[in-house]
């Protein structure tokens, strides 16, 4: 193959590194726009008694001030999901009920930022203060209701606002309690994960205006342009045909921009004033007033026999969805869906619990989408079980992992009575390769470095999915241009992961042309086929399959066109490397065909399409191994080496896949060690800047070593599966296990700070040296 599996540079890479204008704030409508700023609640729970905007409105240059009194009352969700979306409709554009510190009180639009900021200070609000619900443990059945009314849902998700339940889920295979009772060893532990921030470098932003045709034009840094259009249509009460969405380059998303956090605010300003409006969130707003990874508390029970046969897995989870339920049900489901099938040989498994409302910033989609939290809990528990059984944790896993060709009823795509089949997995090989790379057999569980430093070794495995089975469907269009080059149009919303490049690679592979003969259009929704967007690890697999189908369709159409022009049967025409041949005679080049079809006697400009939606969601896998050096005097842990061995099926682009793994591991190391989330006693997010919230810098990331152990996914394009999300799941549990092996201290709540390790050592009163 010429392109698949190669190290193809990202098609926009050179331009981006050179600083070419490409992002929303570079391309939007210039200095003419009104600047939008938002007044936010200083209280975690309050009701607005009165709000007086008259002084603010009187400031010269203030165009409008919008509150709950003059904005639509339509309830909606900001979650970007295929309609009918599971997330509850629990928001208004602006409400009179404040549900977290940062909730929107008023929207101000003014001629410049200084005027807008000055106007915010002139708005007088009289709040009735309510008791906030600030702890996940206290949310269930708390007499204080975060949502006094039951939010509308498109279908049952087990929500019960009277109990602060945003969503519930219960799934059980086999008899969990029976198997636990019959198990020789039972282990139960509770693990907690924090509300990790996406911390993408480009903060949220959108600019709106009316275009020349009187349509609302929305330029946005979004992963979900089609869903944004649907949301806006619903909330603003205008047809989707009256909304034009433009998606420039996106400066990082990681799932954050799968929630339409900002578009509605400039949009309502433009609707009210008729004028262009621009909103750019500050970093503080990005931390405080958008979404984060759902913080969770997960209790895992494992039942096993002494030989290491796992009989039952039970996970009970409480998820903190904060003030609103964006992605609350689906993130919750995915916790079980992307963990239980790993140990599919167990006779029984169960996943259950609730996503709960609290008066904290909302949870949302973040790379891993529940699998990350579930993996931390289950993989930590598996490591603890291995210790209890005195077994090597790699052997315990190898003994119990679901294998290629086996079925599991919790795999995405299963229906009652029809468990989905694991079509591809090289996870056993990934573990073996990882062991060799890290030197597991020689070093596990620990190596004493000197009087004050010990290195511990730990590992974890994980799975994700590739798209959402039976729901998300993507399409790709390929157009043959008049000079014989192609335009591939799609709406998978490249946010840096390289979907534009991957799709062009697939197109070039099928069409047997150079990469520069296929250009990618992914900017203007008016010209793009439907795609749910960049989420659920769907780009390479779902849209990739669509691209392959479109290219094959184009190839077939071209042969038919040549046949028609030459008066022969399509079967007589062969195509290769840009040339059509009949018999042994070269008849036409691509360029000649294209010119003929577009301009002269052909009269048949060719457009091909491919549409694909997965019946299953083939899981990619990773085996991750951490070498963690712990300073016994300070408790500080450092990941001195991390080995990640990935099964993403066929690796479509070696460089892009490698960077996905390295970047995801770094994000996982941040989750594991550094990214501490703190709130004030009154519920204000304290960690609202890069000074307070530490993402890993280049000084914190030491060796990361990545290897690929390819499988072949029969339903994937050229055998490929996804890679984008699975990458951030293993570091936290692997690091936790390594710290435990180095020090004897098992930290079950993330992040694993020096204080937790040191206090644990003091409490244990055992010198690990």
């Amino acid at each position: 193959m010429d392109f698949v599996g190669k190290e193809i540079p990202k098609i926009d890479g050179l331009g981006l590194v050179k600083g070419t204008p490409a992002y929303t704030s570079d391309l939007d409508i210039g200095e003419n726009a009104l600047i939008v700023k938002i007044l936010r609640s200083p209280h975690a729970s309050a009701r607005i008694r009165t709000i007086d905007t008259s002084e603010a409105e009187a400031i010269p240059g203030v165009e409008c001030v919008l509150t709950h009194l003059n904005t639509p009352t339509t309830r909606f969700t900001l979650a970007g999901q295929s309609f009918p979306e599971p997330s509850p409709y629990d928001r208004r554009i602006v409400d009179n009920h404040m549900r977290y510190v940062g909730d929107e009180v008023a929207i101000v639009a003014a001629v410049d930022e200084r005027t807008a900021l000055a106007a915010l200070k002139k708005i007088k609000v009289d709040y009735e203060l309510l008791t906030p619900v600030l702890n996940l443990e206290e949310a269930l059945d708390n007499p204080v209701r975060v949502h006094p009314q039951q939010p509308f849902t498109n279908f049952p998700i087990g929500n019960d606002a009277a109990r602060n339940i945003a969503a519930s889920h219960y799934t059980e295979q086999g008899d969990v309690e029976g198997e636990l009772a019959a198990s020789e060893v039972v282990m139960e532990q509770t693990y907690t994960t924090q509300a990790q921030a996406h911390a993408m470098m480009e903060t949220y932003r959108a600019t709106t205006s009316f275009d020349v045709n009187g349509r609302l034009q929305v330029m946005s840094s979004t992963q979900i342009p089609y869903h944004v259009r649907r949301h806006l249509s619903r909330v603003l009460g205008i047809p989707r045909s009256k909304i034009k969405v433009l998606k420039p380059r996106v400066g990082g998303g990681f799932g954050g921009k799968q929630t339409a956090s900002v578009e509605i605010f400039p949009a309502i300003v433009t609707m009210k004033t008729g004028k262009p409006a621009r909103l750019v969130y500050t970093r503080q707003e990005t931390f405080t007033c958008t979404t984060s990874r759902h913080a969770m508390q997960l209790t895992v029970r494992l039942g096993a026999d002494r030989d290491g046969t796992i009989r039952a897995i039970d996970i009970y989870c409480l998820s903190d969805t904060g003030a609103y339920g964006e992605h609350a049900p689906t993130v919750f489901w995915v916790v079980g869906q992307k963990t239980l099938p790993l140990y599919g040989k167990a006779k029984a498994c169960r996943y259950h619990g609730h996503a709960l409302y609290t008066n904290k910033p909302p949870g949302g989609a973040l790379r891993g989408y529940g699998a990350t939290q579930g993996t931390f809990a289950l993989e930590s528990a598996i490591n603890e079980l291995a210790a209890k059984l005195d077994m090597d944790p790699t052997e315990l896993r190898a003994k119990n992992l679901l294998g290629e060709g086996e079925t599991h009823p919790e795999l995405c795509g299963s229906t009652p009575g029809n468990p989905a089949t694991l079509g591809s997995s090289s996870l056993h090989r990934c573990i073996e390769k990882g062991k060799a790379l890290i030197g597991w057999d020689e070093k596990f569980p620990k190596v004493i470095v000197n009087d004050t430093k010990v290195r511990g070794y730990g590992m974890a495995v994980t799975m994700q999915g590739s798209g959402i089975a039976k729901i998300d469907t993507a399409s790709v269009l390929i157009k043959l241009n008049e000079d014989g080059f192609f335009t591939l149009s799609h709406s998978a919303s490249d946010m840096g992961q390289g979907s534009d490049t991957i799709l062009a690679q697939i197109g070039a592979e099928v069409l047997e042309i150079d990469m520069d003969q296929i250009v990618v259009a992914s900017f203007d929704l008016d010209t793009l086929p439907y795609d749910p967007g960049a989420y659920a690890s769907s780009g390479a697999y779902v849209t990739g399959n669509a691209a392959r189908l479109a290219a094959e369709d184009m190839k077939a159409q071209m042969r038919c066109a040549v046949a028609s022009l030459q008066g022969v049967s399509p079967d007589a025409v062969t195509y290769g490397d840009g040339v059509f041949t009949i018999g042994s005679e070269k008849t036409m080049t691509l360029s000649e065909l294209a010119q003929t079809l577009c301009s002269f006697n052909g009269k048949d400009m060719l457009i091909a399409k491919g549409t694909f939606g997965g019946e299953t969601s083939p899981p990619p896998f990773i085996a991750g191994f951490a070498e963690v050096e712990v300073d016994l005097e300070t408790g500080e842990a450092q990941v001195t080496d991390y080995v990640a061995v990935a099964d993403c099926g066929t690796v479509l682009n070696k460089n892009l896949a490698l960077i996905q793994v390295e970047g995801g591991v770094a994000m996982g190391i941040g989750l594991g060690l550094y990214e501490e989330v703190r709130y004030s006693g009154k519920g204000r997010l304290s960690t609202n800047s890069f000074m307070e919230y530490k993402i890993p810098s280049r000084l914190d990331i030491h060796s990361i070593r990545v290897a690929f152990e390819e499988s072949y996914e029969p339903t994937g394009p050229y055998g490929a599966k996804s890679i984008g999300e699975v990458v951030c799941n293993t570091p936290a549990p692997a690091i936790s296990a390594a710290v435990a092996n180095a020090t004897g201290v098992q930290v079950r709540s993330l992040p694993i700070t020096a204080e937790k390790v040191l206090l644990g050592m003091i409490k244990n009163n055992v010198d690990p040296r």
């Binding site: 540079p9 050179l14 981006l16 590194v17 704030s25 470098m201 503080q284 460089n655 800047s689």
Partner: protein, 149 residues
């Protein structure tokens, strides 16, 4: 307010508001490579050169640049292109939003440091955050660009 300064080798008169930061002024004058990523001078996205040295334009008052020389990546396209070739060969740019500021620091490092090791490179670039890449691909690109082992 007005001041005279040099941007990318051209003498210019800048109109600006009191309290305006250089980042805002440069964007307003069309130097769109300059990005902002934080409110706390922590991320390095807004890095430009002030008299040939990396400076954070988000926390440099425009009023202070009178008589100084400002350089943005728009004036260093050939150098940036040379480095960019190494970056894209590693796939290390990903979303690219941090790239212009990061590249400005790398180009300054190339002029300043002779044969740096990984520790020296990391130290020099510590103020340039990236959330996508995990930094390893950037390091591979930098070492090839710098010609160091």
């Amino acid at each position: 307010m007005q001041l005279e300064t040099t941007i990318n080798g051209r003498n210019v008169t800048l109109d600006f508001a009191g309290g305006e930061f250089l980042y805002e002024t440069l964007r307003r004058y069309g130097y769109l490579s300059v990005k902002q990523g934080c409110d706390t001078s922590s991320c390095g996205l807004c890095t430009v050169w002030l008299d040939g040295k990396p400076a954070l334009s988000c926390s440099t008052l425009t009023a202070r640049v009178a008589g100084h020389e400002i350089t943005t990546i728009e004036a260093l396209q050939d150098d940036a292109r040379e480095f960019a070739e190494y970056m894209v060969a590693e796939g290390a740019e990903q979303c690219g939003f941090c790239s212009p500021g990061f590249t400005m620091t790398v180009l300054a490092m190339k002029r300043e440091l002779d044969n740096p090791d990984e520790a020296a490179i990391n130290h020099y670039l510590a103020g340039n955050l990236c959330r996508c890449s995990g930094y390893k691909g950037q390091m591979r690109a930098i070492k090839k660009y710098m010609g160091v082992a």
